[in-house]
């Protein structure tokens, strides 16, 4: 349903979508039922001349049932949602599959810097490719990202991956994704970061291995003349253990 509007382009995106649909079904059903009962009672018990209201304290067990049964239903469905929600959370934020490659994402007012490992697949070597506002990745490859910020809080959001993580100055936060389709999509900054917050769009380019190899080749020549971006200095804390 959601991928009709926003493609689901990572391995965990369909799981997040399923979770959202599950919650939608549960709260949709119960919410709608509550609204129907509520409006039904209003219509049924509209004042009529000569009809006095009933005197119900709501303190007897027989009457309290009307509240306690929905109460336990809420609890049971809360538990169901919790289990499903935390399973997805663990997959996205706590498990870290062994990465094929690592990219560095550096946010600042108001641009994104992406450091790609280049042909050797290793960061902080002379063939690293640094780009502004454009991240190039290969479809079907597992990536680890190292996220940091140079100034204020930012947030690295890739809606097609259903991925979001705040960037904090002074920290490197690690995470992962594995794209499942090629194409070009938005990267957004989703934490207010000053007057240029709305001017921080970037794009993620998901390519086939061949396309990516060509892109690497075309850009390595440039990287050789320009000095590699210095690695961020802060010690890695936070993020995945």
């Amino acid at each position: 349903m959601i991928d009709h509007y926003v493609p689901a382009a990572s391995t965990f995106a369909p799981h997040i979508d399923d979770l959202i649909i599950l919650i939608g079904a549960v709260v949709g059903f119960w919410g709608l039922l509550a609204e129907v009962v509520f409006i039904g009672l209003i219509l049924k018990f509209k004042a009529e001349p000569g009809v006095k209201s009933k005197y119900v304290s709501g303190e007897l067990p027989k009457e309290k049932r009307w509240v306690s049964i929905p109460h336990y239903a809420t609890l049971a469905f809360d538990l169901l949602i919790l289990v499903m929600a935390l399973r997805v959370w663990h997959e996205v934020k706590l498990e870290m599959p062994k990465p094929d490659e690592t990219v560095r994402v550096i946010a600042q007012q108001w641009a994104w810097t992406f450091v790609h490992p280049g042909a050797d697949g290793i960061l902080d070597t002379s063939d690293d490719i640094t780009t502004i506002d454009e991240l190039h990745v290969v479809n079907d490859k597992t990536y680890q990202f190292e996220l940091t910020s140079r100034d204020v809080l930012h947030s690295f959001s890739v809606p097609v991956f259903r991925l979001k993580q705040d960037a904090i100055p002074g920290r490197i936060i690690k995470g992962w994704f594995k794209p499942t389709m090629t194409g070009q999509f938005d990267i957004q900054c989703t934490e207010i970061c000053g007057i240029g917050h709305g001017l921080m769009p970037a794009r993620i380019v998901i390519e086939t291995a061949d396309q990516h190899a060509n892109w690497v080749k075309a850009n390595t020549a440039l990287a050789a003349v320009a000095p590699a971006a210095p690695a961020p200095t802060p010690t890695p804390t936070g993020g995945m253990p």
């Binding site: 009809v51 809606p159 007057i195 917050h197």
Partner: protein, 571 residues
């Protein structure tokens, strides 16, 4: 009675009959709880105009980017940030809080518990004066160099901590100072409310005879007092970071920006319930009166309110799931967050249950109270998506959050407040409001309200993230239909704002020309309806009432009338 009367006599206000107070003494320097309630009410209404104007300006920019907004002009990126920050701060801290807690608490508590004034009337006056200063400081920040603060109402550092990041150095400090002063004002008010209800209840009024709205304001005041400390401490640290270059939140100096988020939300989440509970209380009063029913399970409502309050201290980090906190913490905060749905849902069930077997009259206040239940329910269930950590990864900081938030806060800050104003207006001003105008205003508000926020749910699900002044920079957010939804939301907002004129006309014309109200026009049970409309200084000229029973004895089988006021003797 004793403490209140003693302080009162000392203040020299009981010799009231001997001289006519001047304008300032009567309206600005009064220690009468009703006048202080009005001061808060009218200041809150004035600030609501500010909150309404700011949302008008930035929603116009979102629907028609780059166009000069009539009455404002072009909205630049920095204007946009200042507008959203001011809208959020004003609506929560200078509209919802003062009107729901301070105005209604001040006005209703002494009347509903049957005493002549607050225990500390001069503390009460000071509370309003500090509040007024805080509002003036906030408004003045628009006119300083750099303009008003634009770091959102959550004021996350480092953006809020350094002028070179926010570009609003003076505005940021003024915003923080205003917020801190506002909290001091409510702290003073809260002390007063709790002490008054503990000490000055009418003879015979036991704890479980206290009307629900009074209970709710007391629980809310206690929640506020218990949660505000960390935020005020944080605000002082942030002021130091801004002005003396300390490094509480600066990683380069050994600080941590995320610390602020913990302090802010440790206050910020209980704050939701600080304003929700009084709104729930208002609704309890109104649905019982207009369905002529005893409140279903009075004690259950009370216990769920206390339970909600206690739980609300353990959910704050659900605002920070993706903020860089230890991701394992989501395991705990998802659980507490989903658990809090239970007492809140239970309160809603109780209110729905109260309608059963009633004799329901759809007066204007009743329509508002019922609309509160119906709309708040939507706000409640959509919160589940955000409390469930896995789904929050996607929804965090999107318009889905905004829509959810407004489905809770609009019912709290406006629907419940309109219910309260239309219900207590006859008591407050001694005149009736016009029902036809009231209903036109009701439908003219409720229908557009839904047409503002349903499109925002859709936009959020489609990926619109918050606090962006022009979506044209994002190709994926300019797909077919998305701008149409933004325009629909804005047009609905314009409609909603236009219908508020109906309310203002009804309010001010009724104030002067409405038909005179009797003591108890709604045949209600609670003690404020024993006093004359409007009550004079001292509230109960025929002597303070005695209380014989709980507040919700409607439709009692032993009685011919379908109501049984708390002060009327009888088996």
């Amino acid at each position: 009675m004793s403490a209140a009367a003693a302080t009162h006599a000392e203040a020299g206000h009981h010799d009231h009959a001997h001289h006519e107070p001047g304008f300032i003494e009567k309206y600005l320097w009064s220690t009468d709880h009703k006048m202080i309630g009005f001061q808060y009410l009218f200041t809150g209404m004035l600030m609501a105009l500010v909150g309404g104007f700011t949302v008008y300006a930035f929603r116009m920019q979102l629907a028609f980017p780059g166009v000069a907004v009539p009455g404002y002009g072009r909205v630049t990126a920095s204007d946009y940030n200042a507008l959203i920050t001011t809208h959020g701060s004003v609506m929560i801290f200078w509209v919802a809080m003062p009107v729901l807690i301070a105005a209604l608490g001040n006005y209703l508590i002494p009347l509903m518990i049957g005493c002549d004034d607050m225990v500390f009337p001069r503390l009460n006056r000071l509370s309003y004066q500090i509040f007024l200063v805080s509002a003036v400081i906030l408004m003045a920040s628009f006119f300083v160099q750099g303009g008003a603060f634009g770091g959102a109402w959550t004021a996350y550092p480092p953006l809020s901590a350094k002028a070179e990041y926010s570009l609003t150095g003076t505005g940021s400090s003024m915003w923080l100072l205003a917020v801190a002063l506002e909290f001091v004002a409510f702290l003073l008010g809260g002390i007063n409310f709790v002490t008054t209800v503990m000490n000055s209840r009418a003879p015979g009024m036991k704890m479980f005879d206290v009307p629900m709205v009074v209970w709710m304001i007391i629980i809310a005041s206690i929640l506020f007092m218990a949660s505000v400390g960390p935020l005020v401490a944080g605000a002082v640290m942030l002021l130091f970071d801004q002005n003396f270059h300390t490094g509480f939140f600066d990683p380069a100096k050994g600080g941590d920006p995320v610390l602020w988020q913990h302090l802010f939300w440790f206050f910020g989440h209980p704050e939701v319930y600080v304003v929700l509970l009084p709104a729930m209380g208002i609704v309890a009063e109104i649905i019982t009166v207009f369905s002529r029913k005893k409140l279903f399970a009075y004690k259950t409502v009370l216990y769920t309110a206390v339970g909600t309050g206690v739980l609300s201290f353990f959910v704050w980090a659900h605002h920070q799931f993706v903020a860089g906190i230890d991701p394992r913490m989501a395991n705990v905060f998802s659980v507490t967050t989903l658990l809090i749905s239970i007492p809140v849902a239970e309160m809603v069930f109780v209110y729905i249950g109260t309608l059963y077997g009633g004799s329901i009259r759809l007066t204007t206040p009743m329509l508002w109270a019922l609309a509160f239940i119906g709309e708040f329910l939507i706000g409640g269930v959509t919160g589940i998506f955000l409390g469930a950590a896995g789904a929050d990864i996607y929804f965090h900081d999107t318009y889905f959050v905004i829509a959810h938030f407004h489905y809770t806060f609009f019912p709290i800050a406006f629907i419940a407040v309109f219910a309260a104003i239309t219900y207590w207006f006859p008591k407050m001003f001694g005149r009736m409001m016009n029902e036809t105008f009231g209903k036109v205003h009701f439908w003219g508000t409720i229908i557009p309200f839904n047409f503002i926020f349903i499109p925002l749910f859709v936009l959020g699900t489609r990926g619109d993230h918050r606090r962006i002044y022009d979506y044209r920079h994002f190709p994926d957010l300019m797909k077919a239909g998305m701008q149409d939804l933004r325009i629909l939301a804005t047009i609905s907002l314009l409609t909603l704002l236009a219908f508020q004129v109906v309310f203002l006309v009804n309010f001010f014309v009724s104030l002067k020309k409405g038909p005179k109200a009797s003591k108890n026009p709604w045949n209600a049970n609670t003690l404020e309806w024993v006093a004359p409309s409007p009550p004079p200084h001292g509230n109960f000229p025929e002597g303070l009432p005695n209380v014989y029973r709980g507040p919700y004895e409607y439709g009692h089988p032993d009685r011919a009338e379908d109501y049984w006021p708390q002060n009327v003797e009888g088996a």
